[in-house]
Each structure stands twice: as structure tokens, then as C-alpha cells.
């Protein structure tokens, strides 16, 4: 379990890259000082028979705190990701802004995904939301790209890469190089 503490008025970007090694990743974030902000970004690339259990807990205990948890996952072959994310906003954590999103792209007939993004909110002067998508690439986006002449294969490749790239673009500069490399290696074989 990795505990992440964010200090008063601190803005922390916490990147995670999974390429199949770990079976379990647990994170706990506590925002108990005013103005603390966390952006938790996870890039999950699954292949072969790899599986991952990833759990995040974010607790808002102070006013004016912000959390953004974004999980983007591409799953190929027989891989599987189970994501359980909890965002808890305690009483008194006024003006909290919390957003939890899990997006999983299944790239093979045998890949599987499970997502349980949960919210527990005991304070009303807040804004919170979450979103999940699991499945294949967006139909309308595919139409747009193919209407420009790209083959279905190229269009899908572009969309998946774009999907994953958009989260890497938000990583802190120093982590972007490694992330780009991992993406490229994954892309070469699977996209």
C-alpha cells in the first residue's frame, strides 16, 4: 500500500505506469490540509495473461481540496484489470472538487475489465463526479478518421495511441520519457 500525503496548497501529480509486472497496486491519498490538490494518473498496458488489481482511496478531509484520478488502460490478449477506486468526502471538506475516471479499451476478444469507481460523500458544498467507459474504440471517432481515408486498422491504431498518449501528456515532464518509451514498445507489438 502506498500512502500519499499532499500538503497545504500543494499540487501533486502522481503518475503510475503498469506494464504487467505487478499483480496488485494499492494507493491511499489523504487530503487533510487546505488547498491540497492531487492528480493521480495511471497508464495500464496489459498483454498475455497479465492481470492487475488496482485500488485507490482518496479522502478529502479539508476545505478547498481537489482530486482527479484518471485511469487509462489498454488490454490485449488475455489480460485483465480490476479497478476499485473510492473517493470519500468527509463532513466539513467544503468546496471540494473531486473527479474519478476509469477508461478501459479492450483490444482482443479475450481481454476483460472490471471497474468500480465509488463515491462516499457527507458534505454538500462540493462538486464530485465520476465516469467509466469500458469497451472498444468510439464508433463516431472511427467514422471521422476513416472518412478521411484511413483504413480501419490505421484509424484504430491512431485512436488507441491517442487515448493512451493523452494521459502521458499530463505526466510530469521527467516521467514522460519513460512513459513514451513504454507506450512505443507496447504499440509496436499490439497496435
Amino acid at each position: 500500500m502506498e500512502e500519499i500525503i499532499v500538503k497545504q496548497n500543494q499540487e501533486l501529480i502522481f503518475p503510475v505506469i503498469w506494464t504487467g509486472k505487478e499483480k496488485e497496486l494499492l494507493y491511499s491519498v489523504r487530503l487533510s490540509q487546505r488547498g491540497a490538490k492531487i492528480t493521480f494518473l495511471a497508464l495500464l498496458l496489459g498483454k498475455n495473461e497479465e492481470s492487475l488489481d488496482i485500488k485507490t482511496t482518496v479522502i478529502h478531509d479539508a476545505e478547498d481540496t481537489k482530486s482527479e484520478v484518471i485511469i487509462k488502460s489498454a488490454l490485449n490478449d488475455y489480460s485483465y484489470v480490476n479497478f476499485e477506486g473510492l473517493v470519500k468526502i468527509n463532513h466539513g471538506a467544503k468546496k471540494t472538487n473531486a473527479w474519478l475516471a476509469a477508461h478501459m479499451l479492450l483490444l482482443s476478444k479475450t481481454a476483460r475489465g472490471r471497474a468500480i469507481p465509488s463515491l462516499e460523500i457527507i458534505e454538500n458544498d462540493i462538486k464530485a463526479g465520476h465516469a467509466t467507459t469500458v469497451g472498444r474504440v468510439n464508433e463516431l471517432e472511427m467514422f471521422y478518421l476513416t472518412s478521411r481515408g484511413l483504413s480501419e486498422k490505421s484509424a484504430k491504431q491512431l485512436l488507441v495511441q491517442g487515448f493512451l498518449q493523452s494521459i502521458v501528456d499530463r505526466f510530469p515532464k521527467k516521467n514522460q520519457v519513460i512513459a513514451a518509451k513504454q507506450l512505443q514498445m507496447y504499440g509496436q507489438k499490439y497496435l
Partner: protein
Amino acid sequence: MKNALIIEDLHVQTVEGKQILNGVSLTIKKGEIHAIMGPNGGGKSTLSAALMGHPGYVITKGKVIVNGVDITKFSPDQKARAGLFLGFQYPVEIAGVNFSSFLRMAMNERKKEGEKKISPIAFKNKLVDEAKTLSFRDDITKRALNEGFSGGEKKKAEILQLAMLKPEFAILDEPDSGLDVDALKYIANKINDLDYEFGLILITHYQRILKYIKPHFVHVLVKGKIVKSGNAKLAQLIEQSGYEKYI
């Protein structure tokens, strides 16, 4: 017939089964500009979507023929390679896909076997030059496809793609909706200045854009059928008296 886009008795339904087009027939020759007008719900957007193969629509009867080839059942990318281009009314935002890379890819995919692919640098230079004529806010080549673009920029981006891809037949779905006068002028000038011969279908509700791009033919689409065809004067008539007499 070579050098023509023929739409023959087209009947189109949504995938849920709602009938929208009830037999539309039209012939567009290269070098011609056809404007399609009509009240909301008449089927204008459906026509452009169905021509390009949008997954939400089904052609139940009729044909679409480009340069003598029946493309009715082609997939969208096959239709593009057959020479068709659709300028979307609401261009889709695609995060993480670089505008420049995507467009270069699209251009290269059209090239036949053995044909030389355009180099990234040559492409970028051409793109920047073309983009200048449309007056974008900043370097569009660095941005993700339509992401963060204002409404006007999205529309200009569609025309930029048109200018780069040089399709034989282009369908522009309400290219003028939501645009301010300046953006409208840039787009119209770009289309008028294109240096090759192509057929153009301009779908428009109001006829603002027709002040800047003179159509050879004007058609009125109501309840899924073309009820009146004429020349540019027809557009002026509609501007004065509306669509009532055609409903």
C-alpha cells in the same frame, strides 16, 4: 459517367428504423457547386452522413456512384479513397491524436502502391502554409485533433483538411453555422481559391455562405425529398420568403 457523383433514388433510415430520405436523386459534375437548403429536420445532415457511410444510418434503396464506380456499400475509408470528403457539421474531438500526424497519415493512405509517400517535413511545411491562409490562432500542427478548438476553428480545420487532401467530390455539412463573418470569409475564399477541379455539395440552412460562394445549382430538401431545384436566384428567393411554400 466519369467525373461525376451520381446520387440515385436514395432512401435512408436511421439504424433504429426511422425513415428520413425518401428518394433523393442528384448529379454533381466536377467543377459544379450545388447548394442544398431546407428546413430543419428535412434530411440535409442525413444525406451527408449517409453518403459517407455514417454508422447511424442505413441506405435501404438507391445508389451512390462516383466516377462510374458504385460506392453505395463501401466503408467510409473506401469511400474516401474513391474520392469523397465530408466536412462535418460538428467535427469530432479526438484527444491525444496530433492534427498534423493524423492528416499526413490520411494523405499517405490514399497513395497507391509504389507511389512515394510524403515526407514529414514537406508535409508540415505545406500544412503551415495552407493554415496561414485560414488564419488560425496559433500553430495548429502542434494541437490534438479538434481538441480545445473553438467552433470557428473546428470549421476552418475541416476546410484545411479539404485543401490538403484534395478530394474529387466534397460535401460540406453547414460549414457556415456558428461562424462569425471573418471566419466565414476565410473559409469561402479558401474554397474559391482551390487550384484544382472538384465537385462541391454545400449544405446550408441559411444562405450566408452563398453570398461568398456562388452555387451553380440550388436544391430544396423537404421531408426527405428534393422539392425544388433552380439556380442561384432560388437561394435569394428563399432568403426573402422562407421555406413555407415548399413544405
